[in-house]
Structure formats: C-alpha cells, structure tokens
C-alpha cells in the first residue's frame, strides 16, 4: 500500500518506493541515503508541525513535512523487520 512518508506516525517503519519531483531536493535526499528500497523508521515529529526525524541505516535525518510529502513509501510491519536487512 503506497503512502507518503509524511503520513506515517511515530514508530512506524516503511520502505521507500520512490521520490517524486526532481532537482536539488531529490539529489540531496539521494546523497543522504534516501533511495528506493531503503527502510526507515519515523522516530518523532517536531511540535507545531515542524520537521520529521527518521532513522535509516543507523543514523538520523530531519526533514520538513513538505519534503516528506514527496517521498512515496510502503508501510512495513515492524515484526517483519529483519535487523540485518534494515541496514539497507
């Protein structure tokens, strides 16, 4: 089921399917490790509608909600989460 990263709640895991849009933003995300196939976890959301903090490959990224609205993900069940696989 495809959703946007911004729709996920705290603690949910997801797999990136694709990044909509292009240009500098997409390039930046790719450089930071957000590529199709990577699994990430929503750690928290800043109050007042601020940025989202996600964990992927063992580090943390913060992104604005507007940017998260461009990342298409498919939700993953945390129980299916294989620790070794999650590093990708």
């Amino acid at each position: 089921m495809e959703r946007f990263l911004g729709d996920l709640k705290t603690g949910e895991w997801a797999r990136v399917e694709r990044i909509d849009g292009g240009g500098a933003l997409r390039r930046r995300m790719m450089d930071m490790g957000i590529v199709p196939g990577v699994e990430l976890e929503v750690v928290r959301q800043a109050p007042f509608g601020g940025p989202l903090q996600v964990r992927l490959k063992g580090y943390y990224l913060a992104m604005r909600r507007a940017e998260c609205a461009k990342i298409v993900v498919s939700k993953k069940d945390p129980k299916c989460y294989d620790p070794l696989l999650a590093s990708r």
């Binding site: 500098a24 109050p47 063992g58 580090y59 990224l61 940017e67 590093s87």
Partner: protein, 695 residues
C-alpha cells in the same frame, strides 16, 4: 606531495587536520565561495606535504557549495592521495562518498574513525575485511584521542609514493547499467581525457551529462608563502583562483540521445548510479560489519528523548541559550571592563609620554580621546565574541546545534528561513557579531546571505542597555516595561518582514531544502574548540582594527575642529546642521543627528555623545537620559529609540558582514537597507503617534 582530507561533515576531519598541521595552517577562502579553505604544510622525513582540509560533504555532486568545492578541487587540482575519513558508526553512508572518490582517484587511504562510538551502539567493523572488500588500505583511528593519526598519514604517504596506481575494487553495476557504461567507455577510450582521468569515471560522468568533464583549468594560486611563523596562521591568504582554459565537448552525444529515447535520461542515470552504489554497499556490508542489538536505544536516543521531547525540548533550549548568553555577555563583562581599563591605562601612559616630549595638545587629545577611546570600545567586547564562539563551537561539534535547528525550524519556516538560522538570530540578541558569524552552519549561500542581512535588525545587548536607560527616564514605572516590549515587537516584526522581503531581492525562489543530519552526540575535543575560536577572533580583529581606528580618528577630528568653538560650530556640528533636514520629519534636531552618525562606530557611545552635545557633564547613562527629558518629548524619545534600535549596525558588525559575505555590494545594501528602514519606521512612528494624539 598534495594530500586532501575528505569526509562527511562531523566525521572528525578537522581533528585530524589540526593534529597534523598544528599552527602551520592557513585559513583562506575558496574563490567566489563563502566556505573556508584550510591548508597546511606537514613535514615527514624531509618530505614536504601540502595537506588540504576539504569541507565536509556527503557526495561529489554539484548542489551545495561544499560539494562543488570538493569536486572542483579533486578534478582541477588533482591531489596525489586522498585521505578519506569514515565514521564507523555510520559506515554505509560514508562509504557512498568513498566509492565516488575511488572512481575518480585510485590513491585513497581510508581512516576509520569513531570506532568507540560505534562500539557503544553495538557496531563492530572488521577493518582488515573492509580493506579486502574495497582493496583500499584502512587505518583505524580514534581522532579525539589522537590515536592512529600518524599511521594514517604514513600510510597515505606510502600510497602516494607507489609507482603504479593501485587498483581498488570496482562497484559492480547491474547488467543493464553496466552495458551502457561499457558502451560509453568504448566511445571515450581514444580521447585525450583518458590520460588524465579514469575511463570508467569519465564514462559515468558523460552518461550523467556532467558539465565538468571536458574542461581544462588553470590554477592561479595567489597564496602567501606558507610560512612557519605564527603569523601564517589565520592569515587570510588570497583565494586560489581557477581559470577556464578550454572546454571541449566529449563524444557520445548520439549515444546519449539514443538512451534518452529509451527512457534513460540524465536524471535516470543519476538515480540508477546512486542506487547501484548503495546496493553494492549493502551487498558487501556483512563482510566487515556486525550490528548487535540494533533495537537497543543508544546514548543519543536516550538524550534525545529529553532534548527533542515536545514538552521538555523548548525549556531545555531556553536554559542552554540562557547559559550561553550569560557566559558570553554577562559573565564576560568583568573581562571586558578590564580590557577597557587596560586600554585607558595605556592611553594615560602614552599621553604622559607625549607630555614629556612636549608634543602638542592636539596630539595628546587625538591619542586619548580619538584613538584609544574608539579602539578600546571595540576591543572591550572581544572577550564576549571569543567566549561566545567557543560555546558555539561546542554546541556545533557536540551535535546539539542540529537539535536546536530541528526545534526552531517551524518558526524559521514562517520567515522563509532554514532551521539553522535560528541559533544565529537568537545569538544576535547578545551581540550581532557572533550572530553573523554563526551563519556559517548554513549550507545554502542564499539562506546564509539573507540571515546575515537581517541579523543587525535584532537589538543587541549594548543597544538594549542604552534603550532601557532612555526608556526608564522617559517612561517611568510599568509603562517603561510596556514600551520596551513594544520596541522588541517592532524589531521582531521587521526581522520577519525583512526575511520575506529579502527572499525576493536575493532571488531566492527555490525554497531551501531542509534535509539535515542529526549526528550522534559526542564530546568535542578541547583543541577542536580552541583552534577555530582563536582563528576567528584573530581574523576578526585583524580586519576590524583598521576600520575602527580610522573611524575613531575621523570622529575625533570632526568633533574637535575647529578648536575653541561651541559644539554646534565644530565640523561635527555643522554636519549635524546639514543632516538636520533629514531628521526634521522625525522631530530630530542636529544633536541627535550627530549622535546617530557617531553611534555608527559603537552604539554604546551614543549616550555619552548625546551627553556632550547637550552639554551635560555626566558619566552615568541614567543622568544623561534624565537630562534629555528636558530636551525631548516622550514621543520624540520613542521615535529616537525606534531609529536607534534599527539603523546601521555598528561598525564591527558591518566589518563582520563583509567578512562573512565576501561581497561589498551586499554589505552596502545591508547598511543602506537598515538605514532607510529605520528612518521610514521612525517617520511612521512619529507622525502616526502625533495623529493618534500622543506627545
């Protein structure tokens, strides 16, 4: 031999660089950029090595200044060896950069840092297996403790001296992509470029339609001699300039068009290649990395539960900011005071000596009231800047600054700014100079420029001091508190308005991307705090002292000549008379205009200038303010305060703006903008107030 240090931000490059070069560093600027260029000379066994600390970057694409600089350096200046620093706790993303480098430069040594941090998160890296997997030498280092740094350099020198280029393992691309790369390689194999750059890299870049390939550059190095004397440190050497000599189109255009028709556009290639590299990393990862207990919360996790909690996060930030402020601007006051006293004492000694050699009276006055008064006023707040900068470096290196940006981003978004501007703007309340310097963390140059330009609109402690004295005199009691709040609100609103307005002027149409890493917390080394603090304080002083000296002398001349006439007839007074017509619509007389002009050098002196002009022989700001009540209406005072709060930033901050923006045009624009804004607001306040029936 030329060796470049590369790595992600926060990976410890500066620690290694500082450890190896010590005081033999030169800090300059990359041509046309606002990023620092740090280079140094290291001598090992009579081998002289030029070591260059490239800015932290995540990739070798061309979107941020740091990336562009790193790319350009490697492609145009061709270092002999690259020392790639890798963060063991974050190895996948770090290897992404390393793989890109390996495709371009075969002589690479990997420095595996932060193994201790990785350990605490349950991650172990088998460095010999990593070396095997990539076929690149790996040296383990704990940069913070100084371990392994020397071995890292030794290994780099060894690789630099190898006769033939080493052959690191290549990234295995998926078949479809591999075919296309080989096809392009075949077209490029006969060109001249193959002698200069690896064929594979050329092919990949050509598929991505990279504009950099096919260009020949000349390096104009206007550097000062890299000396061993202490002065070579922190010397703002001339920027190294690149000059485009020729640009030849590479073959392969028709192939590229064929691919485009199949759907393989430039964007698609970029995406596919980036993805392939990450896939490759995932595939080889198990060979050298073990991750135990990945679900166990790390120290960073536990700390972030407090620092980023919606309930506690903001109060904690408030406390942190208060501590930083208190230490920088209040606790340092005695030191500033001591500097002032010291300067005054030196002035007296100089005057005494001048008297002894029977120098003319005007010289003595020049020295005491002109030079030492002016320069001393500015030197007195150097301790503030130094302490603030040390604390700021600590915030940044420890990882807290990213958290502050995370919490403050929502508010910055309202103004069209980046979360990292938050700390800079808040710091400006203490003093504009460190506030402007704090914009260095902003990666987007336009974000940075806008933040630099609006910084001076925030009233700093010296201004607030003068303002509160005047407010207390004219609006006693609780009315005074309301007035102060109203003034602060005005400045806040203008900061927001200016930020949004300047986005049009600076032509910043593309909203800055907020994709920021929240690094793991760690305690920075003392050296990593002290070295940059010293460098920045020193370079600020070097730049500022000439301007301030000249300005102080000019002020002194204007107010002392012609001699023996009442204040209104000195050159300063006459100038005030000319300017009075500007002040007229705001109800300002010539004295206030003069005080405003002179306040440019240092705003704290405005009150004492006014005192002199009104003929009040007083040394306390309160009594001067009291004396002013006789000469101005409350509305007049309020208007004055609005203008005073907003008009041209003090000389020190103008100098800093120039230093940080490296652009005279924008610096002048900033000055003009605040000047015009302040007077327009003053006019609005004065006439609006009158219309509303205030006096």
């Amino acid at each position: 031999m030329k060796i470049a240090l590369i790595g992600n931000p926060n990976v410890g490059k500066s620690t290694v660089f500082n450890a190896l070069t010590g005081s033999n560093q030169q800090v300059g600027n990359w041509a046309g950029k606002t990023v620092e260029r740090k280079s140094g000379v290291v001598k090992r066994a009579s081998q002289e090595i030029e070591l260059i600390d490239l800015p932290g970057t995540y990739s070798l694409t061309a979107y941020s200044q740091e990336e562009i600089i790193t790319r350009e350096y490697i492609i145009r200046e061709k270092p002999d060896v690259v020392m790639a620093m890798v963060d063991a706790s974050n190895i996948e993303r770090n290897l992404y950069l390393v793989l890109q480098i390996l495709e371009l430069v075969p002589r690479v040594v990997i420095g595996l840092n932060m193994l201790d941090l990785a350990q605490s998160a349950g991650i172990t890296i088998e460095s010999s297996n990593l070396a095997l997997a990539l076929n690149v030498p790996v040296v383990e280092i704990v940069a913070a403790k100084g371990k392994g740094i020397e071995e890292f350099l030794t290994e780099a020198i060894r690789v630099g001296k190898l006769e033939n280029d080493p052959l690191p393992n290549e990234v295995s691309y998926p078949k479809v992509l591999e075919q296309k790369i080989l096809a392009m390689e075949a077209l490029l194999v006969d060109t001249l470029w193959v002698t200069r750059y690896p064929l594979r890299w050329l092919a990949i870049k050509r598929l991505e339609r990279d504009p950099e390939i096919g260009q020949t550059w000349k390096i104009n190095s206007g550097k000062l001699p890299i000396g061993k004397s202490r002065d070579a440190c922190c010397d703002l050497g001339e920027a190294v300039n690149y000059e485009l000599q020729e640009s030849t189109p590479l073959p392969g255009e028709s192939l590229l068009q064929d691919y485009e028709r199949e759907g393989w556009t430039k964007d698609h290639f970029e995406m596919a290649i980036a993805d392939a590299k990450y896939q490759y990393i995932s595939a080889i990862l198990p060979q050298f990395r073990k991750h135990e207990n990945p679900a166990k919360p790390t120290f960073t996790d536990r700390l972030d539960r407090w620092i980023l909690s919606p309930f506690w996060g903001y109060p904690i930030m408030l406390v942190v900011l208060t501590v930083v402020f208190w230490m920088s601007f209040i606790a340092s006051a005695p030191i500033g005071g001591a500097v002032s006293l010291g300067m005054a004492w030196v002035a007296e000694v100089m005057v005494g000596w001048l008297q002894w050699v029977q120098a003319p009276e005007f010289m003595q006055s020049l020295v005491r009231d002109g030079i030492f008064a002016g320069v001393g006023a500015v030197l007195a707040f150097v301790p503030q800047i130094a302490i603030f900068f040390a604390l700021f470096s600590f915030m940044q290196d420890s990882g807290y600054l990213a958290r502050a940006a995370f919490l403050g981003d929502r508010f910055m978004q309202l103004m069209g700014l980046h979360g990292k501007s938050f700390f800079s703007l808040i710091s400006s309340f203490g003093c504009n100079v460190p506030g402007i310097m704090a914009t260095r963390t902003l990666e987007d140059p336009k974000d940075r420029l806008i933040t630099i330009l609006i910084n001076p609109l925030i009233p700093c402690v010296p201004r607030l001091g003068v303002m509160s004295a005047v407010v207390a005199a004219f609006f006693p009691g609780s009315r005074g508190a309301l007035i102060m709040i109203s003034l602060l609100l005005i400045s806040m609103l203008l900061v927001m308005f200016s930020a949004l307005f300047l986005r049009r002027v600076v032509k910043h149409t593309e909203r800055s991307a907020f994709v920021m890493e929240l690094p793991l917390y760690h305690i920075p080394t003392v050296r990593n705090i002290l070295v940059p603090t010293w460098q920045k304080t020193y370079s600020f002083l070097k730049r500022a002292w000439t301007f301030i000296l000249v300005a102080s002398i000019v002020v002194w001349i204007l107010s002392s000549y012609p001699q023996g006439v009442p204040m209104s007839e000195t050159w300063a007074g006459i100038m005030g008379g000319w300017l009075a017509f500007i002040g007229q619509p705001l109800g300002f007389d010539w004295r206030i205009m003069v005080a405003i002009v002179f306040g440019f050098t240092a705003k704290e002196t405005t009150l004492s200038t006014l005192g002199i002009l009104y003929g009040v022989a007083a040394d306390a700001s309160q009594s001067i303010a009291q004396a002013m009540t006789g000469a101005m209406t409350p509305l007049g005072a309020y208007t004055f305060l609005v203008v005073y709060m907003l008009y041209i930033p003090c000389l020190a901050s103008v100098v800093t703006t120039y230093k940080e923006s490296r652009n005279l045009g924008w610096t002048s624009f900033g000055v003009a903008y605040s000047l015009i804004l302040s007077f327009v607001m003053g006019w609005i306040v004065f006439h609006g107030g009158q219309a509303l029936g205030f006096r």
